[in-house]
Symmetry: D2
Subunit: 334 residues, 4 copies
């Protein structure tokens, strides 16, 4: 009963390839096309398809399109799809910020389709109620997903001190930088290295992180976000350091995580004393979290995902499942 016709734009990037892999075995999806201008004509791994140039496919031929495209391009295709009555799962940054002004602040370019904002933010464990019966969803990327899930219980419970910063020391595998060749992703530059970049508040995900965190708790300190390029292909770890307010001591935090995430299939909270490592999440569709109390008032949270799965492709499919009223984890649990 593969009755949901789907198309993937940007199917030859790393997130696009994982998306194709997941959709190819999804019990309800009939994958009709995957686009790639660079690899047009080559066979799409794991399918009988060949990559089509973007110009050769028509969004209206399917029921849902996934956009694993560069920002700015993505919004344009999203608009086309919506106009054609097709559901749109966007994996780019184009629909993640609520206002054109916020977008321009982070991306230094005017938003190509301000009329699409705000769009529902697709992080189901936090706001799944907003994700049913919608036509378009902004799927958050790897850094915000991993970080927000790592913080969510404390934000939801308003447990953070509002005058202390939230410190996020994040480490990402190289696929997070995309497949387009550049010196940054050259093997010999990354190998045996560890490279911090855009640290402090310079990375464009800081705006998105604060936008979403503030929806959950209005009394928080600034987010300090320092990403690092890690010499591995996949996996993302956010190491989060927070200061608790008087509502909770640090040894109560773990219970809060267990309670908030108790019913979640795709978030795992490790037992107290066990540390989340990158391998806990790589090649899975889950976010794995450990939390360590430090003295009375501090906590160290380790949140890990596969940057191409829960940080991109599998979360996109999770959003699609919700949009179509399917079981949220369909095709996502092996």
């Amino acid at each position: 009963m593969n009755d949901i016709r789907a198309g993937v734009y940007g199917g030859s990037g790393y997130a696009g390839m994982d998306l194709v892999e997941i959709l190819a075995t999804h019990p309800r999806v009939d994958l009709r096309f995957a686009t790639s201008n660079t690899y047009a004509g080559e066979s799409v791994p794991g399918t009988d398809l060949r990559y089509a140039p973007t110009a050769d496919v028509c969004p209206g031929d399917v029921d849902v399109i996934f956009l694993a495209l560069p920002h700015k391009t993505s919004a344009t295709v999203a608009k086309l799809g919506l106009d054609a009555g097709v559901k749109v799962v966007d994996l780019s940054a184009d629909l993640r910020l609520d206002t054109p002004e916020a977008y321009e602040r982070s991306y230094h370019t005017p938003h190509p389709h301000p009329e699409l904002l705000p769009a529902p933010y697709g992080l189901p464990e936090i706001n799944r109620d907003e994700l049913a019966d919608i036509n378009v969803v902004a799927t958050p990327g790897c850094y915000p997903t991993t970080t927000l899930l790592g913080l969510y219980p404390l934000l939801k419970l308003d447990a953070l001190r509002d005058d202390a910063p939230i410190i996020v020391d994040a480490k990402s595998g190289v696929t997070g930088a995309g497949r387009k060749p550049s010196l940054t992703t050259h093997f010999a530059e990354v190998y045996s290295n560890l490279i911090p970049y855009k640290t402090g508040r310079a990375h464009r995900h800081v705006g998105e992180l604060e936008q979403e965190a503030l929806k959950l708790s209005d009394a928080i300190g600034p987010i300090i976000f320092c990403p690092h390029l890690l010499p591995v292909d996949r996996g993302l770890m956010s190491s989060i350091y927070v200061t608790l307010n008087d509502t909770m001591t640090s040894d109560q935090a773990h219970d809060a995580y267990l309670e908030v995430y108790g019913g979640e299939a795709l978030v795992v909270v490790l037992p107290l004393g066990e540390q989340a490592t990158l391998k806990h999440a790589v090649k899975t569709n889950k976010c794995v979290i450990s939390i360590t109390p430090v003295l009375d008032r501090y906590a160290h949270i380790t949140s890990v995902t596969d940057n191409l799965r829960k940080g991109a492709a599998s979360q996109a499919v999770q959003n699609m499942n919700l949009m179509f009223g399917l079981d949220e984890t369909m095709g996502l649990l092996s």
Copy 2:
């Protein structure tokens, strides 16, 4: 004029091998022996020596001994050496803490030679005045060296808020875990992984870090220290997050680092805007530091060393140079 006869205990571990490599070309050193019970009889790389069993060498035959031994064993050999009138450069943890009580708190075992405490703490950039004309020195290891050098200017200037924690998210190459085989260092366990361990305040270097930091500034918050095992062989990065007090704004911090480290040959402060990466330090004898102001009151400091060099072997030689009244960087600049 290789007139300083030297011996290395524990010459087949990773730090011991780097130590041998440095001493073998030091213009004043005559390397007489390197011990290894495991590799006894095998040739010592880069020299004409063969590894000697510990029992076959005599500290009194040389002018200085370097101890790259496990803790507890090290203090015992240090004692023998000192009794024989030989200078002792200890690379173990045995002489780093000032009191037997502090040692027992961190290492959960009584100190084997409490009469040796306190010993001079060999971090020359911080306390080189205390390192001339001494007979024994405790060389700090990779985490404390890298972290303390990253914090030193702010501690010296009493620029940190005393009610905010000092957060150290540290990442170490696998040689930091020693050469003795274990599942922890098995290639297949480390590869493609990133493993936090003993996070919060559980690692035994926390006591040493706070002991030394408090000597420099008595008004600091607690240190939160989260080390990670990084899938590379060498290199250590301490990512440090601090909150400044009213004596300094974050955009003044970089100048403070330039001033404090202006005359140092083995500490490099990068220009503002440039990030220290692991490769800046690997296979060098230097500590490389970058500092990023974040808002008015916060700073992100990246401090990197080669864990086997400035974090162990080359710092030991730097200490030896001071003890013998030589140029501090002799044999350490290529």
Copy 3:
């Protein structure tokens, strides 16, 4: 209908863990136990079981036992299982050689149960007719599986010159060396390195390779086998260089491979001009082969597997499927 009760001996080694992973989702298998003396009591990943000490399980409680044990130990458990009427899938070397003499030549120790020899050799693509209705099977390891599949069409067709050597330059990921810690598998020794070992005819798989090759073609030259330890966790590549006799020119070889492997689900022959890379096989249950004609008489064959899958665990399950009369690929195609 999980009606085949199975037990895994040696379930905490790398091959054992992959075996458990495959059996846990096999549609007919009910995994009853996994043994591990080292990790007894710890939970078995991907299951609800805990590792049992070997002494606590009883082979007679299940229908089939898988032995991922060290050689010598394995034959003893195999004997126990067979005596109890249980089917035995051995992954060790104990049952691979046809005579006790051959075993002693390769393993330098008397065979513990010579009465078990010869046992059926479980390489289904080559001899599946011998694998139905049997009680015990010797599953070949990664080097012989990958190499023999790479050579099979040419051996079957008697296409090799009998006076030219068969050269096998093989490269294995580190899991092939087992999970027991040793300096050989220490991260820092393997990383950035490539290590040939036991080259020429010194490796103990040479006897097994020649035994099986000679069953297929009695006119072949000696096998020269040079394995290398590759700095990756998984994957095995055999690069094979052969000289053809007058029955075939090198440009006819590719067709021979296509024909011989035409009906195989778990062997992929790449189109002419495409090279098999390690990633073609990693985390799959397949052997992937490319063949390049060189001048008239030579061929270069690249054969790759995942050393823990088609080179161990998945081939063991493939053999079990045949022994129980199931579809040979049950549980092995995703």
Copy 4:
């Protein structure tokens, strides 16, 4: 006495950077410029220079120029230099083949300056007599250097069977593919992979290898050359398989290597039974060779270099030393 003024063209590629590093500490060299169009204006690591655009430097201002340039471009600059009376050390392929016809066969483009052919082939251990008092030298690259040094004693002694192929299974670190970004060198494509390419006789170094081998021995079989991209940054291993003729048995081969290379400072022949590994050569200026007799007539030779040193930059300096009548290893032994 840094009296030899030198310039490096292509100083920001990987070979160029190693070349700059070596020249910067060479006791007779005064490095005047390093060109890079891509990084023009940026500082040249390890020097006080800044990269100059090619158009801004003048070959006539120095005594020797090193050309680490793409082929075709290199010959043009070589011509300019020679016309200006400057000595030229070429690291490109442009001057390695003896005739324009051979060049066109391998590089599929007409030679830009056929009048420069043939040029002396700069592999000093093989033909150092031809390298004194010359104005231009073609420095062979990593594959030919490593392979020819691995074969040289057997070629020189005419010890190979003329009807058996010389099989070279070679593995190269990623810096061998150059610094220009491409999908081939993208971290995520190379990591955890092993990639054969241009195998058989398709690689353009086959012509050069046979040209030079035939100068040493006119009775050899064809060379079969299969290079692989190895997931490490540096290092090259040629695994060579040969068949000996009646003049030598395989157990005599090791002695032949010891004798031929007895006086060489930059070639190390390991003791019989010890295998050369990649790490033997990485970050050194040496070629390290092990040889294993196999049966009576076969030998397996492992020859390793650092592809950027003895396979490029340090060999270029070795050639310069010879051209200027200096000690051949000046600046090359630490």
